[in-house]
Amino acid sequence: MPNWIRVCAADEIEAEDLIRFDHDGRTFAVYRSPDDNYFCTDGLCTHEQVHLADDLVMDYVIECPKHNGQFDYRTGEAMRAPVCVNLGTYPVKLEGGEVFINIQGAEQV
């Protein structure tokens, strides 16, 4: 049975931006794309475990603030060195104007 966890109100995340979400000792990044879809990935860069929450979102790409590695946050795919390992991604749903993630439903490309 999916374990949906409330993250925030949908409008708390600006379009083409992300927020950090900590839960149960883990950290996640929750994104709102330019076309108002929501996504969730692990919150730490796979290169040197830097928080992605201070990053720049460009279209569907998240860029790490430390060495400018890039991921596609829809799939978690590592797109630009020095990141080589993909990010884990998690299902997201919108209900009653609120964002929920299912952290048991990790997806990997």
Partner: protein, 356 residues
């Protein structure tokens, strides 16, 4: 009083290597997220304006050099062409390596490849070495890009006005890499999956240089080598003079870029050649900010930083005595006073940090 002077081992596999600052908290002046988003914004237009001007001037001066070749005018024209080609490429290699000037990724990558060849740097090896430089800036045994290990070699600095040491090393690296050979230090920061790419790039660079050499022999003229490859030796001096100010003589092993990097105010021509890397504290503190917004970032954080140097001369007035003293006093470094009210430097955390 200083502790007795001892030589440090700067190699990445020596006694000072080991855990770095990968998970450490480096000091960063707090900036509201909305402002940061403005400063991080990428613009193809701004990137293309800079690249177009640089590439246009380089090609035009190269064409002029071909035109005046064999006359006395070739000397001054070569000087201009060389600086645009090599000093301009050194800074663009760096900027496009960060991938920040353009919003469109393939444009960043294409210019990175071009500038890497023009500065004779292996694009794969240097991307990884530079990532480490940003993780462990001037951390002994971790940072592969410490240009002034103590005692700094003054002879190497002078020779590098013609990039004798720096570019010869890069050519040697390219030859070794083209044969699939890596040093222990290179193995330390270059993941295995990236090594074939580094070897391929080295072969391409060596191939282009050899072709230029063959062309020179075929037409019995130095011109092909003065146009391709040669400028990296004779035209990098301006970048060398400016880049010396980045970290020379400053603190080692401190997680605060305000104390191990310099911001130097320069004229617009030098800033164009150098892609605003004179704002070096700002660049290290926020590597996400493209070069064209570094002056704005400087204004935002200057109250929290040591005073910027008003000119190259002012920076050299500090660097020269410091590196001379470091010839015998290996513990000496320039201490940068933080202004009253500035955020405190994080405590030295290195021994507590887990390895990458």
């Amino acid at each position: 009083m200083n502790a007795p002077a001892t030589l440090r081992d700067y190699s990445l596999t020596g006694p000072a290597s080991g855990p770095g600052f990968a998970h450490a908290e480096w000091y960063a002046t707090p900036i509201p997220r909305t402002r940061m988003k403005e400063l991080m914004k990428r613009s193809d237009r701004a990137g293309l304006r800079d690249f177009g001007l640089w590439a246009g001037l380089t090609v035009a001066s190269g064409a002029l050099l071909i035109w005046v070749w064999g006359t006395v005018w070739a000397w001054p024209v070569a000087l201009i062409y060389g600086v645009l080609y090599a000093s301009g490429a050194e800074s663009r290699w760096h900027e496009y390596g960060h991938g920040t000037p353009m919003r469109t990724r393939w444009m960043n990558d294409a210019i990175y490849q071009l500038a890497s060849f023009m500065s004779l740097k292996n694009p794969v090896l240097w991307r990884w070495s530079h990532a480490r430089h940003h993780t462990d800036t001037v951390i002994v045994g971790r940072d592969p890009e410490i240009a002034f290990p103590r005692p700094p070699s003054l002879l190497a600095w002078v020779l590098n006005l013609l990039h004798v040491v720096a570019t010869s090393k890069e050519i040697w690296k390219a030859l070794r890499l083209s044969l699939g050979l890596l040093t222990a230090d290179q193995k330390d920061f270059l993941p295995e999956s990236e090594r074939p790419k580094a070897f391929r790039a080295a072969r391409a660079h060596v191939g282009i240089l050899v072709s230029a050499g063959i062309a020179a022999m075929l037409i019995s003229s130095w011109l092909p080598l003065v146009l391709i490859g040669g400028p990296t030796f004779y035209g990098s001096w301006l970048h060398h003079v400016m880049a010396t100010t980045q970290h020379a003589g400053l603190a080692e092993d401190v997680p605060d870029h305000r104390l191990n990097s310099r911001t130097v105010l320069l004229n617009p021509v030098f800033r164009f050649i150098y892609s605003n890397m004179n704002y070096h504290v700002e660049h290290h503190m926020y590597p996400m900010v493209p070069f064209y917004y570094l002056p704005a970032l400087h204004e935002d954080i200057r109250e929290d930083c040591p005073r910027a140097y008003p000119s190259l001369l002012a920076a050299y007035r500090e660097i020269v005595p410091a590196v001379i003293r470091q010839q015998t006093d290996f513990n000496h470094y320039v201490r940068r006073p933080l202004p009253a009210g500035a955020g405190p430097t994080p405590a030295y955390q290195r021994p507590l940090i887990a390895a990458e």
